[in-house]
Symmetry: C2
Subunit: 160 residues, 2 copies
Amino acid sequence: MNCSIAKSLDQVGDAWTLLIVRECTMGKTRFDEFQHGLGIARNILTNRLNQLVADGILETFPAPDRVNTNGYRLTRKGEELYPVLVALMQWGDRWRTAHGKPLLTLADKRTGQAVQPVDIRSADGALLSYRDIRLLPGPGATDSTLAVIDSRNQRVLGEE
Amino acid sequence: MNCSIAKSLDQVGDAWTLLIVRECTMGKTRFDEFQHGLGIARNILTNRLNQLVADGILETFPAPDRVNTNGYRLTRKGEELYPVLVALMQWGDRWRTAHGKPLLTLADKRTGQAVQPVDIRSADGALLSYRDIRLLPGPGATDSTLAVIDSRNQRVLGEE
């Protein structure tokens, strides 16, 4: 846990970065669109876009409607941040919105039905909190991972 | 989308903040435990903890094993950030870990079985990317939300 969350935050632990990724999921592609949508300073936007490309989260492509202008779009790696954005949206809807009224509903374009909430669920479908979770070593676990896992399970699950 | 993601990031758009929340899900409660686990400067940790309490994500409680010492624990609001952390962990496992080998597996403590991935799924269980999503107005939608929704659906879904 330590490692993968921290390593993710190395690349997306900055609010502007995730907001640029959000703009991409809204179909924005151009520097001026990002700037307009976010109200971000040009030098900061330039810096974040360059870093996102360097990190392989965005890639540039020739903008279809402008000569000599690059657009930005999500790579596969970038697209896979969508659950992070939706989890943040859901939390914001619940805890950061006036009267808890969501502005938006995400629907499956095929059916028009709302998507399922982003929850932690067991294989049998039960809704789980972090207190219902036991950490187990993954395929990349090291000795220090094992120590972290034991300590965490003792603390949270009250096990010896 | 604009609103709830941005509002969430107002409170958790800083890497230290989410890492402190992670430490709480690992069963840590005390200032010195956070400091040791994160290697964060004391003044920054003090600042972030105070802000997390002010934002209602953490609450203080008398530490059971220390006189005159407060511990910190997640509120309900804080606990509900767990899907955000797990989504970041999953993305990090996939894109930020050597050879894509996860260090940890999250298992249901009752069954020992791995939890389901944090994905965006339709009501009928299909895995969806952001391109499969149609935005619809939610109960809190305003006129400007409707304009954003229309523009986004046109851009991403190619609809008029």
